[in-house]
């Protein structure tokens, strides 16, 4: 059901019904309309996003210049930012996000890569693939409750470790900084390693099997195979996966909310939780907006530096 363009002349008789014939442009649309078309296509999406993100963004930036008390807004200029820069808790939250997020990312990356290398040629794993995917399919809040119960309320982890004889008494996963952070890291690793795993497996399976076979026949060890053949192919994919996960990790909130609440002493408070606490526990919305804005700037800068490079330029 083709609608004809408002052409001024009918298309030539031998215009290709199959792609191989000589093609002549059948469109006779005004040039400006043709140029406008792609913008029109993309406009609804962009406008929609602008409303949902630009409006709150501007609102937040505006609000960050005020001290908000109930419905009285007092202009304070950059005071909120000045206070923020000197706020120990803010920097601690940044640091926590980097430490917890960094370790989680490193661990899940290593595990996922190892598993992927071990699994990608294996016919059995294909069928069992769904088992490896399971953790990712639960709601993050549910996952947080699972580990809250396992680490803290139900003391299952301590009990298991005591059972093997590794430790003498129950561990304090809420009062010890390292352990508290570890509980958050484990939660994240459990849930999101599958995400990286299937990406890496697919990437490895995308390798040309003949090249692989040839290399193997040449006597290359699996390590050499990996290092010289697989890795270079995977580099862009690894980058993509890491960036996606890194972006999500900086917004780590649910597990902190449910499992630790920032304890001990604020050392597991991620920046998202910090913003939430300032906004919804102290109602200092101006301050929270300032923190949000700083976060926004950081994420945009990071995104500009890394994401653009790998996404846009890797596709011609």
């Amino acid at each position: 059901m083709a609608t004809f363009a408002p052409a001024s002349e009918p298309p030539p008789a031998d215009a290709g019904k199959n792609g191989r014939a000589v093609r002549k442009p059948a469109r006779r649309r005004p040039a400006w309309r043709r140029r406008l078309f792609p913008y029109l296509l993309v406009a609804p999406a962009v406008l929609y996003l602008l409303t949902i993100t630009l409006y709150p963004g501007i609102y937040a930036i505006y609000q960050s210049l005020f001290f908000v008390r109930f419905d009285t807004w007092t202009f304070v200029g950059l005071d909120n930012y000045r206070e923020l820069m000197g706020d120990e808790e803010f920097w601690m939250a940044m640091w926590n996000t980097v430490v917890i997020g960094g370790w989680a990312l490193a661990i899940e990356f290593t595990i996922a890569l190892t598993l992927a290398v071990l699994a990608y040629r294996d016919p059995f794993i294909r069928g069992w693939r769904i088992v490896f995917l399971l953790p990712m399919l639960f709601m993050p809040s549910a996952v947080s409750f699972i580990w809250k119960l396992a680490f803290n309320d139900g003391r299952v982890i301590s009990d298991l470790l005591m059972g093997i004889g590794l430790i003498d008494g129950p561990l304090d996963f809420l009062g010890n900084v390292g352990l508290a952070r570890l509980s958050l890291i484990v939660t994240d690793v459990w849930q999101w390693t599958p995400f990286l795993f299937i990406i890496f497996v697919a990437a490895l399976q995308g390798q040309d099997p003949e090249v692989e076979e040839a290399a193997r026949l040449d006597g290359a060890s699996w390590w050499k195979l990996f290092w010289n053949i697989s890795l270079p192919i995977m580099k862009p994919i690894i980058a993509v996966a890491l960036i996606l996960r890194a972006i999500d990790i900086t917004t780590m909130f649910t597990s902190v909310f449910i499992i630790t609440g920032g304890t001990p002493g604020g050392t597991t408070e991620t920046i998202s939780y910090f913003i939430y606490r300032i906004g919804f526990k102290t109602f200092n919305f101006g301050y929270a907006s300032a923190a949000s804005f700083v976060m926004l700037v950081i994420t945009i800068v990071v995104a500009q530096l890394f994401v653009k490079r790998f996404f846009i330029t890797s596709r011609a």
Partner: protein, 318 residues
Amino acid sequence: MSTVHPTTGPAADAAPGTAAPAPSRKRPPMTDAERRARKRRRRRSALAGSVLRYLILGSWAIFCLAPVVWFLSIGLRPRTEIITPQPIYWPSFSLDAWHMIWADWPMGAYLRNSVLAIVGSVIIDLALAIPAAYSLARYHYKGRDDIGFYILSTRMMAPAIVAIPIFFLFKNLNLLDSVWALMLVYAALNLSLVTWIIRSYMLDLPHEIEDAARTDGASDLSVLFLVIVPMCAPGIVTAAVIAAIFAINEFLFTLLIASTQNAYTLSVALANFTGGSDGIIYNAIALVAFIAFLPILLLVLVVQKHLSRGLTMGAVKG
């Protein structure tokens, strides 16, 4: 998904007798005995390698599965057996929690709201993303990359940042506590993902069919909807499923926007079992978690072949 033939693993090393290694450095040629010995060694180490491999993979599989099974057992036991001086690994069976969540709480309403919000948001997303993806994939114009990047960057918006203004926005529009508000928010959160996934599928389509259609005189729009979309169907379905997975997970906005069973979804319904004067009701939480898990599991089983491709937005070919 990759169409690679599953060649066998390192065990293949032992296979053909053609394994006479072409020596890259000068070495005296091997005797038959040596060759056989080497093959034996290889086979042994290959076997050991295999065992090790399966051990590692198996351990991880257990690590994935054990908490799930354990949590299910939490859901199916009486409340007094959850928190005890020593953890109980073989509890008695009880459907208390199951009865509670259906009898005391409008679980059906939560499920309904979750489904409505997700389906609605996915429809909105597809309606907006398909044209946008086409534009980004097939056209060259000024600012295309910037627009594409902007769309992607909205994914980085941390919910806590925009939560408060969006709350007030919806309050002023009188949309609070409605499934519509949830649809709008979920759609916004996932639009970037959906757009990029579909775009990556569109990029890989051969140009010829399109050009053929155009030559036939089809307008751009009909080319899009009648030619491109059908060809991209797997990609579109994948994008929809991934969006659904992320939407059901959404917690913070839903918490702020919803206040009654009109809009409460499963993810926030969990909060019902933690905030009250009964403390944290773990068995109820576990069962609600599984209620939300099962549909996602089914969806994923359907599209698992395409999942990895979708998740990397096409950076992984295949």
